[in-house]
Amino acid sequence: MSLFRFTRATIDGALVRAELADPASGGFASFEGWVRNHNEGREVRRLEYEAFEELAVKEGERIVRAAIERFGVAHALCVHRVGVLEVGELAVWVGVSSGHRGEAFQACRFIIDEVKHRVPIWKKEHYVAGDSGWVNCEHCAAAATSPEPVPV
């Protein structure tokens, strides 16, 4: 069973959810990250996700495996988009099935927090105003759109 993977195609929530179906599990928690139309005061038109997939898949699998062991849940999966995404599209999906709901919520939260924090994935915002910038990189956005490189 897959624990973490990337896709270039639209994520179908019903399909990925079906991978976690389990007649012994009574609870299923999921999280979806959607592309929203604004961030830090800027209007966003679309996003671009890029990943160092070889390491990211290993790191993502480590996170999901750790969640399963730590919270004792039945199954868990994270699927992340790469490529260009429009506002409203599903960027990341996390699902956890479990005997009990408390553990399902905790594992789901743990996975999305760790994925955002540790997995080598980058997000470039394209703004309605026409410019763009890499997210989480304080001096990156300005630099990314500078016509001339700033001297080191």
Partner: protein, 79 residues
């Protein structure tokens, strides 16, 4: 020593390429990044980056070996 260097996100844009073969005397990722900064307009500091060698996270002081694949990882933003 020959290395493969891959670039992602901001570093890819600033290097103008996704990967390259580099012939170098740099003994560690720290030395390699200093060398690459003379070639490309990289502004990210070592404190902002992480290092991967052969697709595993490593220290800045890990000795490099011929044939290694090196990636400098800018601040991530998945999800």
């Amino acid at each position: 020593m020959n290395l493969r260097v891959q670039y992602f996100a901001l570093l890819r844009e600033q290097a103008g390429r996704s990967e390259e073969r580099v012939t170098t005397n740099a003994a560690t990722p720290a030395e390699l990044y200093t060398e690459l900064k003379t070639r490309y307009p990289f502004q990210l500091t070592r404190e902002q980056l992480k290092v991967a060698i052969n697709a595993e996270f490593r220290d800045w002081t890990t000795p490099l070996a011929d044939g290694d694949s090196v990636v400098f990882i800018p601040p991530v933003a998945g999800g």
